[in-house]
Symmetry: C2
Subunit: 251 residues, 2 copies
DNA sequence: TTTGAAAGTGTGTTAATGACACACAGCTAA
DNA sequence: TTAGCTGTGTGTCATTAACACACTTTCAAA
């Protein structure tokens, strides 16, 4: 083992992986980035998963998550937040996952625990481009995702839960919306994440009270209805609230 | 490797450990359970850590945490909640940890990521008894803990943070207080955890509004001041609030 | 019987919340 | 030009929660 250690910078750790749940928003629904095994040709069934892979022995978990995301989707330079570790010994034991696993791993039977991360990105900024073992990569509406490979459904569920909790104590949207956006878009984002309707007027009141929005002297153009006021985030206050947190957004 | 796999039920996974941050309360301050390396005799410095060890390949992370806690301290049958994974490649790289590590591990240089758990227990119910490689185990007041071995200070910090967050959305105390307790004791518990004073009357009002306390027809006896009313938790409502959560306890 | 120590209790003020409905601007298509 | 559609934008009121604040009660011990 000590001989191996000399070289460990280059070695994949066979027992630990990272998985990345990337949320995106298209002004309508919340999406999640998934990769496809490309096995549907042979098996008739596609296997979807969130991007993830084994870590190297010389990188931190955070670094591994960033690297893996980049390798599999081309997405770079985003902030990832840890969700937690998932380590059921049978988490990769589904029959339907076996084939993919064999094609992926040098030791397909090794016991792997995974550390999940999540992030929020503007969907349009990131056109995921599959590479490495991902046959394809793309955005899937959360509501339409039914089964994912391995324990990725559980991981997605957990990440979503964390996002719902986070939304109550920190501002969000900065990473999901374009620089200029309307209150309706932000409103819809909150509704998509919490998956329930929120009263429009109360929403506006509360979000404006947070003092994180700067109204612009600009309106939407080209919409088939009254154009709405555009806002941008007040970066200073947004950061302040992000780091301090607030007690309760209260929905 | 496939030969090894046959036997993996019996094998420690060299790359993954669990660590348990156990909080206890003595009606005065918040404590944390720590074990001692017993190396102070030889090195002159004691090394304190929270109980933790490598996992077996056939157990879940949750099971591993329970097992390890039991092996090192005798504490059994408590609910542990995951805090997260810690995986800096140098997390066990301190010079001062080397000696202990060598005595502990078959592969002291292996890269280990750890999954941290935390729990709350009644201090008096658990007189930790050191065993396995723990030379001694005992309760240390949080405030007096300065340096722990490995990255355990960071882990403790993180667990404490999670506890502070949890306290706002779920009732706590059931696992930290005896069956019958006073509001002052509960009050002090909250102050200890949040590490700041809370207004007595507002605290009483809020906690009573939660409907999780049943007043008893009993008072303290033998105290040199007005004896206070005893309460117990209303288990049904407590469980209900535990699982549903509330939006904000608001301190 | 006095003293010290903590328990216990009530009120007024202010801020936040949730429920609720309608008029208007701008576009499109007839 | 007009009618119709779609989404924008706005205010009030009743209820509830948050907060700040001070005095009296009870007991044990000296």
């Amino acid at each position: 083992m000590s001989a191996e250690n000399k070289n460990k910078a280059l070695e994949l750790n066979p027992n630990v992986s990272v998985d990345c749940v990337i949320f995106g928003f298209d002004f309508d629904q919340l999406h999640c980035l998934v990769i496809d095994s490309g096995l549907s040709k042979t098996t008739g069934r596609s296997r979807l998963a969130v991007p993830g892979d084994l870590i190297y022995d010389n990188e931190t978990l955070d670094e591994a998550a960033k690297r893996v995301l980049k390798e599999l989707t081309g997405i770079d330079n985003i902030y990832l937040e840890q969700v937690g570790a998932f380590g059921d010994p049978n988490r990769m034991g589904k029959e339907s996952d076996k084939e993919w696993l064999k094609s992926l791993r040098a030791e397909p039977d090794a016991r792997v625990i995974t550390v999940a991360y999540f992030s929020l990105v503007k969907m349009n900024d990131f056109n995921p481009e599959a590479s490495s073992f991902a046959e394809s990569a793309g955005w899937a509406p959360i509501k339409e995702i039914d089964e994912l490979a391995f324990d990725h459904s559980e991981i997605l569920e957990s990440a979503l839960g964390q996002l719902k909790r986070k939304i109550k104590i920190q501002p969000i949207g900065f990473n999901l919306l374009p620089q200029k956006f309307t209150l309706s878009q932000l409103h819809k984002l909150y509704e998509s994440i919490l998956n329930k309707p929120l009263d429009k007027r109360n929403f506006r009141r509360k979000i404006l009270n947070l003092q994180i929005l700067t109204p612009l002297n600009e309106k939407q153009v080209g919409v088939p209805h009254k154009p709405s006021q555009l806002f941008e985030f007040n970066e200073e206050n947004y950061q302040k609230l992000s780091s301090e947190g607030f007690d309760n957004f209260g929905f």
